[in-house]
């Protein structure tokens, strides 16, 4: 079924309690039903932890012509804080790079291994593993210096109306957070828990897939995952949620 229908169909689930007041960044976890919240908070139940374990195995696995694993060059502890500061400006490409882009750059340049498709199980596992290394750390992306124009473009995108339904991200996630859109409670659209496990999809999903889902629901032509536009939007959204703890792997409806 198309994502548009999913949002508009408003799947018949019990609506969680509406937060009384919203000021400052609030994690999507605060808008969950108690059941889903428990799934996220309990490491024995959280299905995203399987992805983290799979990512750890991939981290240690030798792949590609150079005969290297990620672990050949990096200690796991070196990855602490990395997810909290991505996406970052990358002088090598003159654009932004997110965690998935970083993984593929490593595979290309240091390992001689083929790039992983963005929503592949392996990529989601590796990025979940990287995100997990920053769990509990405050989101803190850099928006000054060379990142600035990208940040401004992302901010502009956030406030621009789009699609047949003619809505901006801000109209729902800034103005209507906590209100009910049929079966869904609208959260602030934060990205501190990604990649996350989405129950509706029964799989891990990336930040960009969520952007695509919302845009498709608005009957807009979505951008491609990994596009310059989504990287800029991601930078703005990550900055907007600055200070929120990284919660990878989060669980969502």
């Amino acid at each position: 079924m198309r994502a548009a229908l999913l949002l508009l169909a408003g799947l018949a689930l019990v609506a969680p309690p509406v937060p009384a007041q919203i000021d400052g960044p609030r994690s999507g976890a605060d808008f969950l039903t108690p059941d889903t919240r428990t799934l996220q908070d309990d490491d024995f139940l959280n299905p995203g932890l399987f992805a983290v374990e799979e990512g750890r195995a991939l981290w240690n696995r030798v792949e590609g012509a150079a005969g290297q694993a990620c672990a050949s060059c990096h200690a796991e502890a070196d990855m602490r804080g990395v997810a909290a500061r991505h996406p970052v400006f990358d002088p090598a490409t003159g654009g932004l790079v997110d965690l998935a882009g970083r993984v593929n750059a490593m595979r290309r340049e240091h390992m001689g291994a083929p790039e992983l498709p963005r929503e592949s199980q392996a990529m989601l596992a590796l990025t979940a593993f990287l995100g997990f290394q920053s769990r509990g750390m405050p989101m803190a992306v850099e928006i000054d210096g060379p990142a600035r124009p990208f940040f401004e473009a992302g901010r502009e995108d956030w406030f621009r109306r789009r699609g047949q339904l003619n809505l901006s991200c801000a109209q729902c996630h800034d103005d209507l957070a906590g209100r009910r859109l049929r079966g869904d409670t609208i959260s602030q659209g934060q990205v501190n828990g990604m990649p996350f496990y989405r129950l509706m999809w029964r799989t891990m999903a990336s930040r960009h897939r969520m952007f695509e889902w919302c845009e498709t629901s608005l009957r807009a032509e979505p951008r491609a995952a990994g596009s310059a536009e989504y990287l800029a939007l991601e930078l703005y959204v990550a900055w907007r949620g600055r200070g929120l703890p990284v919660e990878t792997p989060a669980v969502r409806r």
Binding site: R161, L165, L167, R219
Partner: protein, 139 residues
């Protein structure tokens, strides 16, 4: 009838604005709206159902949204022209509204390929929904 460009819609309603908001008094079709059809149209998930945002007296549907006001009693509050204007293009009443325009194709950005140049409702569906909402006079 073809969808109204936003400007034409504005011209049409010039001078007809009632107390409760702009009004579009001329029906879009010759065939009068059918309230029973309208009740089915507003529930249609493939047409951005009003239930995403409004509670409506349609008890068999679960999970009505709360972004807009409940529509029970709207037929007593608003005239048919005001209801029609709301549905055709609610930005004429509130430029910052989150309610989509159900009969407008102009001035939209990055519309998905499957929906480009198409309105959410046909002219007849607008009339059917106007007729249905006009019957909602109780609380």
């Amino acid at each position: 009838m073809r969808p109204l460009p936003a400007v034409a819609a504005l011209l049409l309603l010039a001078g007809t604005a009632g107390a409760a908001g702009p009004s579009m008094d001329r029906p879009l079709t010759d065939r009068p709206g059918d309230p029973a059809r309208g009740r089915a149209v507003v529930r249609d998930l493939s047409k951005a159902t009003c239930l995403i945002c409004h509670a409506m007296p349609i008890p068999e549907e679960p999970d009505h949204g709360d972004l807009g006001p409940p529509l029970a009693g709207v037929g007593a509050r608003l005239g048919s022209g005001e209801i029609r204007q709301r549905i055709v293009d609610p930005t004429t009443a509130n430029p910052a509204t989150v309610m989509p325009a159900y009969f407008r194709t102009e001035g939209l950005d990055r519309v998905g390929a499957a929906f480009r140049g198409r309105t959410i409702y046909t002219a007849q569906e607008v009339e059917d929904v106007v007729a249905y909402l006009a019957t909602l006079t109780g609380e």
